[in-house]
């Protein structure tokens, strides 16, 4: 015969299993709306209607950033890529400080009527999980191990506790 304690423990365990399963099913069901942004690949598959607001995220494609002025405001053209597809984006306004080629960004806006261009109302910068002082970044760049333009920082074990001199010395 079960003690009252054992019975309560079993009730908790069973309720826990049910509650976790229910939560998991809910999260799976709402998966698409839980993602904060669509990647260019997903946009090409889903084909959002022109004018429908959504968030487009990815990396600013290297060599596509063109900055100019329109009506006295900064006007920027660039492409967002996820490595598989890329979508042209236009944005009028001031970009966040972290905006640069190769940087992750999330843009909020909608597709224009023509040309498959995404009109962004807002550009948010997304940064990676790596943190390093400027001299370490310079040393990695000088050693040819990393150029921030072309993707995330290399394996952290190669730099996270080495002096800039050691990093620069270890070429290749």
């Amino acid at each position: 015969m079960m003690t009252r304690k054992a019975r309560r423990l079993w009730i908790v365990v069973v309720c826990g299993i049910f509650a976790s399963t229910a939560t998991a099913l809910m999260l799976v069901a709402f998966r698409s709306s839980l993602s904060y942004f669509l990647s260019p690949q997903e946009v090409l598959v889903k084909h959002p209607r022109p004018g429908e607001m959504f968030r487009l995220g990815g990396v600013v494609q290297v060599g596509t950033v063109v900055m100019s002025h329109r009506d006295g405001k900064p006007f920027t053209r660039f492409r967002i890529t996820d490595g598989q597809a890329s979508i042209p984006v236009v944005f009028t306004g001031i970009l966040p400080d972290l905006f640069r080629q190769g940087q992750g960004v999330v843009t909020i806006g909608s597709m224009a009527r023509q040309g498959g261009v995404f009109r962004a109302d807002t550009v948010l910068a997304k940064h990676g999980a790596s943190y390093m002082p400027a001299d370490v970044e310079q040393a990695l760049r000088a050693s040819g191990k990393w150029n921030p333009k072309f993707g995330p920082a290399p394996n952290a074990a190669t730099w996270d506790n080495k002096t800039p001199q050691q990093i620069a010395a270890a070429k290749g």
Binding site: S35, Y36, G57, V123, L124, A125, A129
Partner: protein, 271 residues
């Protein structure tokens, strides 16, 4: 077979246990900590030390992180906010895990100290969660370009804050405190489902918040001179959390004791 504590018994006698409580052998290891008097004798001398060390480490960690650690190559000085933000986030989540464990001890073993611990973890955990959200918001504005977005990580941490606040309110919402403890324990356990969602939110869904910089298995993605102050702050925040919770539990036990003495005195005067 009364393996449960009578509702009022454990708190009524602070010094020696006033009544012989029948204990099952299996629960004995757990229940030896249930005596409030023993708890007081154990933690009272520790609290000043914990508080002192936590304060010193917080000052050391923050001064180190904000004045001596190098700025990030890309984010500049704003990356220093992580010395507050990240430890606050860890303490907020592990504080809730502790609250959930207390809830389990409360529901299954009717452990009276677990009830009080859950009661006192709530406000402290909510404070650290709020600190995490506020510093994160201040960090987001210069680097992301926004104070707030409804991405999975930010939203799930906001839910954590609401769970804490709901727990605080529910636990105190009943005339009979035992009813409050029971109801709050259920909320505490159900809310624990949110913890893995917070942890994995940045991997399960696209989010603006970046992934983890520090993992138990891989190398840290934070350069060593920026990592050390963060680790000092982490230890400091955990100790501060512990000191605050223990001090709150201790003063709640004393408050209860004082109230029951006053009540006894008042009743004695009447007769």
């Amino acid at each position: 077979m009364t393996q449960d504590y009578p509702n009022e018994a454990p708190l009524s006698g602070m010094g020696e246990p006033p009544l012989e409580i029948v204990r099952s052998k299996s629960g004995a290891w757990l229940h030896q900590f249930a005596n409030p008097g023993r708890f007081q004798r154990f933690v009272q001398p520790i609290i000043p030390w914990l508080s002192g060390v936590a304060l010193v480490l917080t000052v050391v960690g923050l001064v180190w992180g904000f004045y001596f650690a190098p700025p990030d190559w890309q984010q500049g000085v704003t990356a220093r906010i992580m010395d507050v933000h990240v430890p606050a986030a860890w303490v907020a989540m592990n504080g809730y895990a502790a609250l959930a464990i207390c809830s389990l001890l409360s529901i299954v073993w009717r452990h009276p100290l677990a009830d009080i611990a859950a009661r006192e973890i709530g406000p402290v955990g909510a404070g650290f969660t709020a600190l995490c959200l506020i510093t994160g918001s201040l960090w987001g504005r210069p680097d992301w370009g926004t104070y707030w977005v409804w991405d999975a990580r930010l939203t799930s941490v906001l839910i954590l804050l609401f769970l804490y606040l709901g727990h605080i309110a529910l636990l105190r919402a009943f005339d009979n405190p035992q009813h409050g403890y029971r109801a709050a324990a259920i909320l505490g356990l159900v809310g624990a489902i949110n913890l893995p969602i917070i942890v994995f939110s940045v991997y399960w869904w696209n989010s603006l918040h970046q992934g983890n910089s520090i993992s138990l298995t891989g190398p840290s993605k934070i350069y060593i001179t920026m990592l050390l102050p963060l680790l000092v702050c982490t230890v400091a925040f955990y100790l501060a959390f512990l000191a605050m919770v223990l001090a709150r539990i201790s003063s709640f036990i004393m408050e209860t004791k004082a109230r029951s003495l006053l009540l006894a005195a008042a009743e004695g005067g009447r007769s």
